[in-house]
Amino acid sequence: MIETRGPDRIDGSIRFPLKAAGGERWGLAGRQGRADNRSVPSPSRTTETATERRLSPRVVLADDDVLLREGLASLLGRSGFDVVGQAGDGAQLLALVRSTRPDVAIVDIRMPPGHATEGLDAARVIREELPETAIVVLSAHVEVDEAMELLAGGERVGYLLKTRVTDVAEFIDTVERIVAGAAVVDPALVRELVSARRRRDPLDVLSPREREVLGLMAEGASNSGIAGRIFVSEGTVEKHVRSILGKLDLPESGTDHRRVLAVLKFLEAR
């Protein structure tokens, strides 16, 4: 029961331009590798479909709950995404991803047949076969081991509580950031990790502000993202980050997802 919808069957009603600011980010990063099999963009109204085809991230959904999946599909559709297929379990998801080559797969972690971590298993396969595909794993409970496994696979990953989908703007923004290359970990998990009580807590050396910045780093926010969240300049954030890394003896990491992984590992092991 794979429901596939090729790009040629897009209903033209997507109100994408409303989200132009967010769209730009993914529009820049996630796309270059695919330019070959896409039509050349044109600003003209008559080729609107083609324009949207280029700009709308193509997404595949996997969840065994049809109602929720359809709800999510319509939400994404309204928010400027092109839902090219829906799957009810891991095997269908893999078949769909192989045939449609989406920009992002949004996957429920718990699916038939075992209702355990089928989504995570499928994500691993997708990572190996099509590393360019962004993956967002949704789960009712966020567990640090699963987060780290996902992050270890590379960039363009997200690990979120399922309830995040109900905050539409935030969710869409997060998915777009992930498609653009970010690694995102659910704030609830980060909160749990940061607030865990330790006897000799290495986090005690951090100032409250630095703790806040560390939490945002763990959630996968970039320096500019952190700056926006705590209303300081990006330069100040950079200073905080350097200070945190120094105090906690963490290495400077080249990419965002490595930074997230390092921070999570530290928080989990402290």
Binding site: R78, R110, H115, E143
Partner: protein, 510 residues
């Protein structure tokens, strides 16, 4: 003082219970040398002690010989004493002629009395030995011995009592076969511990099963089939079996085999053990059934919790998330000139999301999904992270463990941490979880005010059932000022009472 004497008496008694070769050699020395030494020491007093005095003194010697070596050494003493007595103490001295008729009667009377005393002593000691053996078995029955330990002990006692080398305890199976559940002596593959063999037409096991009575085969020489062949190979001439009857059914039998023919009282001597064994098996079976039923209750409760969690997760939560999304969609369609309606939709959606998050917390309490997914290590780490009191974790669990054990271990740590947070006023709690191939050991100790009453944390008391159903133990400790500790041990292998009993309960019966 009295205890000391009783203990001494028991030790002397027990040293005589089982006659060793050394005992027997000593008895023969008494029997041979005793009458001679008595004669030598009394010869000077001959006029005053007379024949009666000498025979009385040797009677004591014969009793000593009987106690140490049995009736035959007593009779030997008598046999030596008679000619010595006639030679030295019955006139005319210096000859063995039994001249006086009266002396002859005295001698005959002496020998008869010695024989009777010898037999009585033998029987008495036999009874003592049997009582001691029965007492040892009864102690095992009353204690927490496993069925296997008990079977082995009874088999050993039977072997020493009869005495006989080849002893087997066998259980009847529903497919007309027997399984050896305890074995002593004569190692043989076909008759080894745990071996199963068909019941043959001509066999002690077949006879016992047919009649429900003790049975014997006195000569394996003409027994056909494999059994006869094996018996002959083992050099076994005769065998006796007595039924073990548990609650009116023939549960099994005790089998003894020997290269010689068994005396007629063998069946009776064996039977005296069987009543105790029946009681023990009946006890063990009701214990098994109790343990199994506790385990079933716990497993059923776990299954229910898992199902509720699944239903909540796959049904209710998903539905609520869908509804929240629909509300958001509706919110988006509200015309912008109706800001109040928009706000109402928005706050409804937000409330719904919060409700879903609450529901997730509840469902985590009902059954932690992470335990089924990742096992104990990540599950306990999560518990530690969420603990209100700082946790020092020492977690050494390499693999996944049996599901019920994981669940029990998880709840022990979870309940203990909850209690620490509620009552202990502690600043630190140590959680140690170590598992090897055979057992998992858990300890949760805090540095709080201690003096905890385990009954206060009803959750902890509930864990006792869960742990004991798995054949494990759990203890709650710590006086005022010492902090509180919860320690538990749960076996992982098949050696636990539960496993042993479960195997037996699962095994088919006749």
């Amino acid at each position: 003082m009295r205890e000391g004497l009783t203990a001494l008496g028991r030790r002397v008694g027990e040293s005589l219970m089982v006659r060793t070769t050394r005992h027997r050699r000593f008895a023969w020395a008494i029997a041979v040398l005793g009458p001679v030494l008595v004669a030598a020491s009394l010869i000077g007093l001959r006029p005053s002690v007379g024949l009666a005095g000498y025979l009385f003194a040797t009677m004591l010697v014969a009793v000593a010989a009987a106690v140490t070596g049995g009736r035959w050494s007593a009779l030997a003493a008598a046999a030596i004493a008679v000619p010595l007595g006639d030679f030295y103490f019955a006139p005319p001295y210096g000859s063995v002629t039994f001249e006086r008729e009266g002396d002859l009667f005295v001698f005959v009377g002496f020998v008869v009395v010695v024989a009777v005393v010898g037999i009585l002593v033998d029987q008495l000691l036999g009874l003592f030995q049997q009582q001691a053996a029965l007492r040892r078995v009864a102690t095992l029955v009353a204690g927490a011995a496993t069925a296997e330990e008990l079977f082995a002990a009874v088999t050993e006692e039977v072997g020493q009592q009869l005495p006989v080398d080849f002893v087997r305890m066998a259980r009847y199976e529903s497919d007309h076969s027997i399984t050896f559940v305890a074995a002593r002596g004569t190692p043989n593959e076909a008759f080894g511990l745990g071996m199963n063999m068909k019941i043959e037409e001509v066999s002690v096991s077949g006879l016992v099963l047919r009649t429900g009575q003790p049975a014997r085969i006195d000569n394996y020489g003409d027994v056909p089939g494999l059994l006869g062949q094996v018996a002959r190979t083992l050099g076994m001439r005769s065998a006796v079996g007595v039924p073990i009857i548990v609650e009116d059914r023939i549960w099994g039998m005790m089998l003894v085999g020997s290269p010689a023919k068994f005396p007629a009282d063998t069946e009776a001597r064996l039977a005296s053990f069987m009543d105790l064994l029946s009681t023990a098996i009946a006890n063990a079976e009701s214990r098994t059934e109790l343990a199994a039923s506790r385990a079933r209750v716990v497993a059923a409760a776990d299954e229910t919790r898992r199902r509720i969690e699944r239903d909540l997760h796959d049904g209710t939560q998903q539905r609520l998330v869908s509804l929240a999304m629909e509300l958001r969609a509706a919110e988006g369609r509200v015309p912008s000139d109706l800001p109040d309606a928009r706000t109402a939709f928005s706050s409804a959606a937000r409330g719904l999301t919060e409700a879903v998050e609450d529901l997730q917390e509840i469902s985590r309490g009902i059954h932690p999904a992470i335990l089924s997914k990742g096992g104990l290590t990540p599950a306990i780490k999560t518990l530690a992270r969420r603990s209100a009191v700082a946790v020092e974790l020492d977690l050494q669990v390499a693999d996944r463990l049996p599901r019920q054990v994981e669940v029990a271990a998880y709840y022990i740590v979870s309940e203990a941490l909850t209690n620490v947070a509620k009552y202990a006023q502690a600043s630190l709690v140590h959680v140690d979880v170590h598992a090897n191939d055979s057992v998992i050991e858990l300890a949760v100790r805090d540095d709080g005010i201690g003096g905890a009453d385990p009954s206060r944390g009803s959750g902890l008391v509930g864990l006792k059932d869960r742990v004991e159903a798995l054949g494990g133990t759990i203890t709650f400790g710590g006086g005022p000022g010492d902090g509180t500790s919860v320690e538990a041990r749960i076996p992982l292998d098949g050696k636990s009472l539960l496993e042993a009993e479960r195997r037996r309960a699962a095994a088919p019966r006749s």
